[in-house]
C-alpha cells in the first residue's frame, strides 16, 4: 500500500515547507522557490509567504502537493528496541524472576558533550516527567558518571563494576559529532575485546534504535525515552526473552 501525506483528504499528499533562499525578495525569487520545490518531486506548490530576512535573503512558506508515496512494505521491518514496555514494578519483578540478581548499569554523556540532563533523566533517582530513573529501581545498580566523560574511562569503569549494560548519551549532533563519538566508543570496546560482555545502549534526541544499531550498539533511544524503556530492554535481553 502506498502511503502519502493527508492534508484534508486521503492521499492528497499535502506538505508544508519553509526555507530561505539567498536571493532578494522578488517575483523572481518566488519563482525560484517554486521551482526548487517542484524539483523535489512535488506536483504542485504555492508560495504562501515570502519575507525579506535581509537584502539578499528571503524566507518562504510553501504548501506543496505530491504524488510520491512510500510503500508500507518498505517500512515493515522497523522495530524499536523495546516494543512492549514494562512499567517500574513489572521490570523489577521480571528481573527478580528471570535474571535472579540485580543488574548493573553504567552510563555517561561522553566526549566533549556537556549535557547531563538527558542521562540524568534516565538514571537519576528522581527521573523525568514523573518516570523514576534507574537509581530508584530496587533490582538495578546504576552508576551515572555525568558528562564530558572520556569513552575510555567509561569502558574501564564498566569493566570495573562488572556492568551488564553501558549507556551512552549524546546530545550535540553538530557536524555529526555524536556518530563520530559513538563509533570511537565501539572501536575502543572492540580493541579491549569486551564487546560481548556488555549490552551497549545509546540515547539522545538525535538518535533512534536504527541509527544506534548501525553505529554498532545493541539499542538506541530517542526523544521521549524513559528509564523503563532501557530497563525493559536490558532485562529482557539478559533473560534471553527480548521481544
Amino acid at each position: 500500500m502506498q502511503i502519502r501525506p493527508y492534508g484534508d483528504t486521503l492521499d492528497d499528499g499535502a506538505v508544508q515547507l519553509s526555507f530561505t533562499l539567498p536571493m532578494s525578495n522578488s517575483e523572481k525569487s518566488r519563482e525560484a522557490a517554486k521551482r526548487f520545490v517542484l524539483k523535489h518531486g512535488f506536483k504542485r506548490c504555492e508560495i504562501t509567504s515570502a519575507e525579506a530576512l535581509a537584502d539578499n535573503f528571503t524566507m518562504f512558506v510553501v504548501y506543496a502537493w505530491t504524488k510520491l508515496g512510500i510503500d508500507s512494505s518498505e517500512v515493515k521491518d522497523v522495530v524499536s528496541a523495546a516494543p512492549e514496555i514494562m512499567n517500574f514494578d513489572e521490570v523489577n519483578l521480571f528481573i527478580k524472576e528471570h535474571v535472579k540478581r540485580p543488574i548493573v548499569i553504567v552510563g555517561a554523556c561522553t566526549g566533549s558533550d556537556a549535557h547531563t540532563v538527558g542521562i540524568d533523566a534516565i538514571m537519576n533517582m528522581k527521573g523525568y516527567n514523573h518516570h523514576f530513573g534507574l537509581e530508584r529501581y530496587p533490582m538495578v545498580r546504576a552508576y551515572n558518571l555525568g558528562a564530558q566523560v572520556e569513552n575510555q574511562h567509561l569502558i574501564e569503569y564498566a569493566i570495573k563494576v562488572k556492568a551488564d549494560a553501558i549507556l551512552v548519551s549524546q546530545i550535540v549532533n553538530q557536524k555529526d559529532m555524536h556518530l563520530e563519538n559513538m563509533k570511537e566508543f565501539i572501536s575502543f570496546v572492540k580493541d579491549k575485546k569486551v564487546r560481548k560482555q556488555f549490552l551497549l545502549i545509546a540515547g539522545g534526541p538525535h538518535l533512534n534504535h536504527k541509527m544506534a544499531k548501525e553505529a554498532g550498539f545493541d539499542a538506541g533511544f530517542g526523544r521521549g525515552s524513559y528509564a523503563e524503556h532501557v530497563a525493559t530492554f536490558v532485562a529482557r535481553k539478559l533473560a534471553g526473552k527480548s521481544k
Partner: protein, 517 residues
C-alpha cells in the same frame, strides 16, 4: 464580574433602545409568515422525504398551496392526513408522487385540532428526550473548569470524511464540532435530503447528515469522556427548517442571526426577520444555543472603528431572541478578534472589547471568533496571532471559543492545523488559567476607557437606528457597510401576511411551551 466599571445606566439604556428598535419589527413578524416557516411547520408535523427529482415533501406540499398559504399550511397538511387514515408515511408518499393537498375537502377546525394533537405530542416527546439525553451526557462528562469550550470546524464536503475529521478533532480536544455548510446552500429555498458526499467548501446540511454526525460524536464522546457538541447553520432561506431538523437530531448549537442573511447573503429582510423568529422558538424549545454572526461585520469593516456596531447588533439579537423565548444562557452572541494586529496596543483593545461583551451579557455563552482577516500566508505569524486570541479569550472568560487556524489565510484547515490550534489554546488557557481573576484594569486606563467609548458609540448608534427604524437603517448601510433595500434580496416572494384564520398549531404549541403568550 465588573472590571470595567461600565455604567449600568448606559447598558440599561441600550437595552431599552434595542427594545424600541425590535418592537415594530416584531409586530411585523407576528403578523406574517413565510414559505419556509410553513415548510417547517409541516416538517414538525411529520412531512418527510422527497420526490424523484429530489424536491423535498415540505416544498411539494407548500408549493401546491399557492394563494392559500396565508391560512397556514398546517391546515391543509393535517386535513390531508385525515384523508390518508392518519398515516403519515402514506401521506408523505402521496405528496412525493404529486398529490395536490390543496384540493382535498376540508374538515372542521375542531377536527383538525384533535388530529394535530398526537403529532405535536410526538414532536414534544422527541425533543424532550433529546434535551434529556444531552443534559445527561453533559452531567456525565462534566468539564472540570470554566475555560472556554473549544470549537473546531470540519468542511470536507463528504459527510463520511467529515466524521473521520470530527473524530480526530474530538480526540485532539474539541468540545464543539461544527460541520461547515457547502457554499451556496444558504441560497437554496429547500433543504436537500439524505447523506451527501459532494459539497463545496463544506457539506450539505441535511437531516440524515445531522444524524450521521450526531451518532459519530456520541460514540466518540464516550471514548473521550467529553460530550462533543454539534453545530450547524440555521441560516439562509431555510433557516427555520434547519432549526427544526437540528432540534430533531439533537444538535447543540445553531449559527443563527437576525440580520446576517440580510447583510451577507442578500436575503430579503422581511423574510429573514420572520424566519429567525420561528427558528429561535424552535431552538429555544430544544434547548439549543444560537450563535449570532456579529463577527462577520468585522471582516468587511474595520474592527477598531466598528466595534460599536457589533455591540449594537448584539443588543438587537438579544432583543429578538428574547421575543422568541430564548433564555440568555442560550444566546451565543458573537464577536471577533479582528483588530489590525499592527496597531499599537491592539491586544489591549481586544481585551477591552471581549471583557465588555462578557460583562454586558453575563449569562450569555459568548461566541468568540479568531483572527481571520489579518491572517496571511505566513503560518508562523498566524500561529502567534492565534495565541494572543487564545489568551484574551481565556482571560475574559469567553464561552464558545472558535479555534483559529494557522492556515486561515490559505486554505481549508488540514487535520494537523486543527491539532496545532487545540494545542495552542490548551497551553495558553492552562498556563494563564487564573489570569482573568488575578488582574484588575487601571481605573481610567486604556482598556476601561476603550470599553466605555465603545458603549457610548453604541448608544449613539442605537439612537440613530431607532430614529430611522431598523429597515431603513439597513438600507442606509449602517451595519457592516452593506446596503440592502427592504423589498430587495432573495426570498421576498415567500413572505405572506397571515390571514385572519391563519392556523399554525406548531407556533401555538411553541408559544405555550415557551410561555410567550
Amino acid at each position: 464580574m465588573n472590571k470595567l466599571n461600565l455604567s449600568k445606566q448606559k447598558t440599561k439604556q441600550a437595552r431599552k433602545l434595542a427594545g424600541a428598535i425590535t418592537r415594530p419589527v416584531q409586530a411585523y413578524i407576528d403578523t406574517h409568515t413565510t414559505i419556509s416557516v410553513e415548510r417547517t411547520v409541516l416538517r414538525v408535523l411529520g412531512a418527510n422525504g422527497m420526490n424523484k427529482e429530489g424536491v423535498p415533501v415540505p416544498n411539494l406540499a407548500v408549493n401546491c398551496l399557492e394563494g392559500k398559504l396565508a391560512k397556514g399550511a398546517a391546515r391543509y397538511w393535517v386535513n390531508a392526513l385525515l384523508h390518508y387514515d392518519g398515516n403519515l408515511q402514506k401521506l408523505n408518499r402521496a405528496v412525493a408522487k404529486g398529490k395536490d393537498i390543496s384540493a382535498l375537502e376540508m374538515v372542521s377546525d375542531v377536527k383538525l385540532n384533535k388530529v394535530v394533537r398526537p403529532l405535536l405530542g410526538t414532536f414534544n416527546k422527541q425533543i424532550t428526550a433529546n434535551v434529556k439525553t444531552r443534559n445527561m451526557m453533559l452531567r456525565r462528562y462534566r468539564k472540570k473548569d470554566d475555560s472556554p469550550l473549544l470549537y473546531l470546524i470540519v468542511a470536507t464536503g463528504n459527510i463520511y470524511e467529515d466524521v473521520k475529521q470530527a473524530e480526530a478533532a474530538a480526540h485532539q480536544g474539541a468540545d464543539i464540532v461544527a460541520v461547515i455548510r457547502t457554499t451556496a446552500q444558504s441560497l437554496l429555498d429547500y433543504v436537500p435530503c439524505g447523506a451527501t458526499i459532494h459539497g463545496f467548501g463544506g457539506t450539505y446540511a441535511t437531516q440524515e447528515n445531522f444524524r450521521i454526525m450526531r451518532e459519530a460524536l456520541d460514540k466518540v464522546a464516550h471514548k473521550e469522556k467529553r460530550y462533543i457538541r454539534l453545530v450547524n447553520y440555521a441560516s439562509g432561506l431555510c433557516m427555520p427548517e434547519i432549526a427544526a431538523m437540528g432540534a430533531l437530531e439533537r444538535l447543540d448549537m445553531m449559527l443563527n442571526d437576525s440580520m446576517y442573511g440580510v447583510l451577507f447573503r442578500d436575503i430579503n429582510m422581511y423574510r429573514t426577520f420572520v424566519d429567525q423568529h420561528f427558528s429561535r422558538m424552535l431552538t429555544a424549545f430544544a434547548d439549543i444555543t444560537i450563535n449570532t454572526g456579529e463577527d462577520n461585520y468585522l471582516t468587511t469593516a474595520d474592527a477598531y472603528q466598528n466595534a460599536h456596531t457589533v455591540l449594537a447588533s448584539q443588543f438587537i439579537n438579544e432583543g429578538f431572541a428574547g421575543n422568541a423565548g430564548l433564555a440568555p444562557r442560550l444566546m451565543g452572541l458573537g464577536h471577533a478578534f479582528e483588530i489590525d494586529p499592527s496597531l499599537k496596543n491592539s491586544v489591549l483593545y481586544e481585551i477591552a472589547q471581549a471583557q465588555m461583551v462578557r460583562e454586558i451579557f453575563p449569562e450569555a455563552p459568548i461566541k468568540y471568533m479568531p483572527p481571520t482577516k489579518f491572517m496571511t500566508g505566513d503560518i508562523f505569524r498566524g500561529y502567534v496571532l492565534n495565541s494572543m486570541f487564545n489568551l484574551v479569550s481565556g482571560m475574559t472568560s469567553q464561552s464558545i471559543h472558535l479555534l483559529g487556524m494557522l492556515t486561515e489565510g490559505i486554505l481549508n484547515p488540514f487535520m494537523q492545523d486543527r491539532y496545532l490550534a487545540v494545542k495552542n489554546a490548551q497551553y495558553i488557557m492552562n498556563a494563564t488559567a487564573d489570569l482573568g481573576r488575578e488582574i484588575q484594569f487601571a481605573k481610567h486606563g486604556i482598556i476601561a476607557k476603550r470599553a466605555d467609548e465603545v458603549l457610548n458609540k453604541t448608544l449613539t448608534f442605537l439612537e440613530r437606528v431607532n430614529k430611522l427604524g431598523l429597515f431603513k437603517s439597513i438600507s442606509k448601510g449602517l451595519f457592516a457597510d452593506v446596503k440592502r433595500s427592504p423589498k430587495g434580496g432573495k426570498g421576498y416572494a415567500g413572505v405572506l401576511r397571515k390571514d385572519s384564520d391563519y392556523w399554525n398549531p406548531v407556533e401555538d404549541f411553541l408559544q405555550k411551551k415557551l410561555k410567550l403568550k
